[in-house]
Every structure is written in C-alpha cells, then in structure tokens.
Symmetry: C2
Subunit: 340 residues, 2 copies
C-alpha cells in the first residue's frame, strides 16, 4: 500500500515541461488548438510525473461536475438494480458519469442522499422515489438545483421530469390476456399488489380494479417475502386454483415459490402473471407471463433530458408503453382452453 507522498499538480507538470499551467491544461484537455510538439512535451512530462487531473478542481472552476446521480430505493430489489445497470450502460456512451446511491428503503436516507448529491454539485439527478408522498420534499429540493428526473415512480407536484412506463396500459394488456385466455370461473382472478405508496403500485392497482371490479385484492410490499405470504394466505383460505396477477415480478416470484412448495401446479392450478420483465426475475420457473418495461428506451430518454442540448419544451412526463410477454406461467389459450 505505497501511497504517493506528494500530489502532482498541473503546476508541477508545467514546471517540468517548461510551460505555463494554462498550457498544460489545454494540452491535456485539447480545449484549444496548440502546437503538436508542445502538446507532446506536456503529455510526456505529465506521464513521467504520474500526473492525474483533480476533477474537484476542474468542477469547481467549470461550475459543472459531469456527474449524474442516481438514487434507488434498494439495490436488493433486482428491478431497481437492473434499472441502475441499464442507465449506467446508456450513460456510458456520453461524457457524463453515473454514480449510484441506495436509499436503503428509507425516506430519510433518500433525502440525505439527494442532498449530498446536490452538495457535490451533480449536474443531474435521477431518483426512483421511495414514497409517493414523503419523497416530495427531497425532489423539490433537487429540482431547484439540478436537472431532476423521477424514474419509474411519480411523485406529484415536484417540478421534476418523469420517465416511466405506462402502467395502466401494461395492466390493461394483462387484463386482455386474462380475458382472452383464462376461464375466469374455473380460475378466479386475484391481484397481489403493493400498498400504493408509489405511483407504480397505485396505477397498476387502479387499472386492475377498473378491469376486474369486485375481484379480490391483496396488498403488501414489493418483495419476494410478501409474495410468499400472500400465497400462504390464499392457500390457507382454501383456494385451490386461480389466476394471480402480481404487481411485480418479484412478488410473482414469491407466489411461485410458495405455490409450488405447497404442491400446486403452475399454470394448471394457478396461473401467475408478473410485471417488469427485467433482470434476474425473468428466469423464474416456470417463466413468467409478464409486462416488460422498456428500460432501454427509458434510459435513453433520461440521457436526452439531461443532455447538453437542453431539450426545449421537453414534456414533463414521458410514459413509454410496455409490452406483454407470454410465458408458461400463464400461457395463451391454445394450451389452457377458452371459455366460449
């Protein structure tokens, strides 16, 4: 662990190359045309001294850090982790850099992370808010200081952009599939969702209710454990078959695991339908019928929003339509028989 004793600055390089610090800066960044030989001399000197630019100094001077901050609720949720990974790969194609922080599923921590990104002078901030209501303050704060984008979950009246998928439309795709391919009398439809503390939970729930008025609804949290509990609850209540519409793949995963552990067959006894279609949850057994979110395009739209050319009159709210992906967890009619 041989730490360097003295930090090499641009002046050191300048001295060695026999030029001014400004010239070194120009040679290294290529911000201005200059004589190739001098540039070369500077680069050599920098190399020899092991010079590294100090981005703190640069950012302080330039009044921009070239950093995009991303605050996710919880990296243990594979959907959020996947969102982070996708955004990271898209941002990679620009000269911006993405730094991720986790809110550890706490509104307070989320707020601290947002603050701290702002204090570090991020140029843009992407937030997947923890809570539809309590995240508002942090987002308003952010909007005052950086280009701010809410991703996946919308908080009302923050002034920030929103990029997400059209959850109602997605749920309507599910409804269409269920109506076309499922014998609803043989398999009553149940929604296993999340308490509407986020717009996604909200919208998916509302659309489900609109599509299946009177159908049973169970609400918990976006994690595997809740899916397991919900399955237990349904089975304990004597349910032996049904179509379980989950608000997220991660919940569907929990449903699947408990249903199967307790000896029920999917899709024969129970159909299971998910939402998100992203990340490792895609590989459940049996593979899920799910609504796939267009994460790739969502990431691209975010980059556009914060891009150098400020998108004039950009819409505040960008909703992209998801697609339905059919899997064996709830196959099309051919296999399960239509009602009429």
């Amino acid at each position: 662990m041989a730490r360097r004793t003295h930090r090499v600055t641009i002046s050191d390089v300048a001295a060695r190359a026999g030029v001014s610090p400004a010239t070194v800066s120009r040679a290294l960044t290529g911000s201005r045309p200059m004589s190739p030989e001098l540039a070369e001399r500077v680069r050599t000197a920098a190399q020899e001294l092991g010079y590294r630019v100090n981005l703190l100094g640069r950012a302080l001077r330039q009044q921009r850090s070239s950093v995009m901050g991303l605050v996710v609720p919880d990296l243990d949720n594979p959907f959020f982790a996947s969102l982070a990974e996708h955004l990271s790969r898209v941002v990679e194609t620009s000269d911006i850099e993405l730094l991720v922080a986790s809110a550890g599923d706490s509104v307070e921590t989320e707020r601290r992370m947002i603050s701290s990104f702002l204090d570090r002078q991020v140029d843009s901030l992407v937030v997947i808010p923890c809570d539809e209501v309590q995240s508002q303050g942090g987002l308003e704060e952010a909007t005052d200081h950086a280009v701010t984008v809410q991703l996946d979950r919308r908080v009302l009246e923050t002034g920030a952009y929103y990029v997400g998928c059209d959850n109602r439309y997605g749920m309507s795709l599910v409804a269409g599939h269920v109506r076309d391919d499922v014998d609803a009398e043989a398999q009553p439809v149940v929604f296993v969702g999340a308490e509407p503390r986020s717009s996604s939970a909200h919208e998916r729930l509302e659309e489900f209710r609109r599509q299946f008025p009177g159908s049973r609804v169970l609400l918990g949290t976006f994690d595997v454990r809740w899916g397991q509990q919900a399955a237990d609850r349904l089975l304990d209540a004597g349910m032996t078959r049904g179509t379980l519409v989950a608000a997220a793949d991660i919940i569907a995963l929990g449903l699947l695991s408990r249903l199967q552990a307790r000896g029920h067959r999917v899709p024969d006894d129970f159909r299971v339908i998910g939402f998100d279609g992203v990340g490792v949850t895609r590989l459940a057994h049996p593979e899920l019928t799910t609504v796939r979110q267009p994460v790739e395009e969502m990431s691209r739209r975010i980059l556009e929003l914060v891009g150098d050319l400020p998108v004039d009159g950009a819409e505040q709210e960008i909703r992209i339509r998801p697609t339905l992906v059919l899997g064996p967890s709830s196959p099309p009619a051919a296999r399960s028989g239509r009602r009429s």
Copy 2:
C-alpha cells in the same frame, strides 16, 4: 423546473449575518467553539438564503472528499447488487458516503471507473474486480492513490487489501454435506462452475476438485443462463439424476429452472447446491442449500480498514468463514436416506 439563478455562497451568508466567511464555516460545521448567539444568527441567515455547502470546495480545501467508491462488475448480478446494498447500509453509520459505479462487465470500463473515482479524489475505493488478471492494472493504480480494498475477488500482487469469504472452506462444507447426506452412487456429483477468471471461481473450483477428484466439471459464467445451458447439456447427455454443485446461487437458479422445466424433480432426481446465500436468490424454489457469505461482517471489516483510525498493521487479506445453510434443494440425510 425553476432553477435557482445565483448560487448562494458562504460569503453571501457572511454578509447577511454581518460576520466573516470563516465564522460562517465554523458556525455551520461546528469545527470551533463560538458564541451560541452568533452561531444562531449565522444559521438563520443561511436558512433564509437557502445556502447549501459546496462539497467540491470543501473537499478541495480539506484534501479529502469523505467518499468511498465502489466498483462492481455488474448490478444485474444480484450477489453484487446485494453486496453494494449491504456495504451501503454499513457505511451509512459513518460520516463517509458510498457511491457505486458499475463496470458493465467490462475490464475497460472498470478501469475507467476506477480512474475516474481516483480523479474525483475518493478517500477509499472498494473494487469487486472483473478479472483475476486484467483487473490488476487498475487496482495497482488505485492502490497508489487511495486506500483500496478488493472485495470478494482477489487479484494477486496489487498491494490492495482483500476482504472476502473463505471459499475453499465453504466448498469443503458442501463436500461434507454431500458425503454425509447423499448417496453418491445413486446421484453422481457434478460441479457447475465458472471459468476461473476470478479468485472466487478459482478457489471454489479447486476445492471441489480436491474434494471430488474425478468428478465431472462444467465451466461457464456467473449467470442464470449458463446454469440453464449446463442443465440442458447434462440432460441431453442422458443424465437422469445427480447432485449438482453450483459455484454460485445464480447458476443454481438456472439449473433449477431448466431441470424443473424438463420435468425433473428436485431434490428427488437432482439435488442442487448453491453458493453465496445472499439477495433475492435465497428465495428460489425449492429453497437452496447454499453457502452463506458473511456479507454483513465483510462490510464492517471494510469500513474498519478505511476508518479514520488507520488500522495499524492490518492484515492485507481478511477471509471470513461462511456457513452452510441447508434447504430442500439438497436436504440432510433424514429425508433422503444415507448410504450406509
């Protein structure tokens, strides 16, 4: 999106409170004792003006950023995502802040991320290296400029600390379980691992070979898809039962999904054993017998290493023993019958 026009600086606050910038700094950070009323006056002024500290300025002056950088190979891998989440929660208890970057599974990107963290003057850098060999350069570079810790995967001769689990010991726990609880004649043992491009892959593979000389070994990558392919390969070759030891839960997940999709029962026909025991993979169906990595303690040790009190004569290499967790994917003898 009402962006603030003028940035409020410490001088603005000073002017408003009728004191010097130095006093404002002291009042806001509490770095020196001062008259409570003045402090209060300063805080009020700051509040009224909507002052936010510029951490770039502070870091530049203080020569430390209070940031720990974490570079992970790929956030879509739930083990790495979970490691990031755990470390994040532990670091949360200190005054350091964790920022995460993904290498997108590319050595080049990894190197760029390391460089860029260093240029941003992180105080410490934690890296889960992509590649046992090719990640070396980046890590050496890091070691020269910040306290550097390799996490989970070891690259030789970098001068950096290493924190990880004792993979050989973990695999020996698996071996013990297999010998105690499995009829190896009825269920031949196969290792489904990853090409040894990381020390974890390496060590687990080597220990398996030592414990089961002559047993079949398939090597691919650390992802679900490889597990699926491996299962297909084994089944296509006519295998109808066996004990499949995976080098990671994520591979085990793929094995499970294909085995079950093709009508084989776990654990009756095939036992499946994983490694990691962390994150969402814990909730496979049937639940995995796996080796649980002590991620909590690993995170704590990392924080200790970079803590204010530089751990004198700290070991370069910290290996923590994992534990075996038995699940229905490979239950103990009681259920499956011992050989003798």
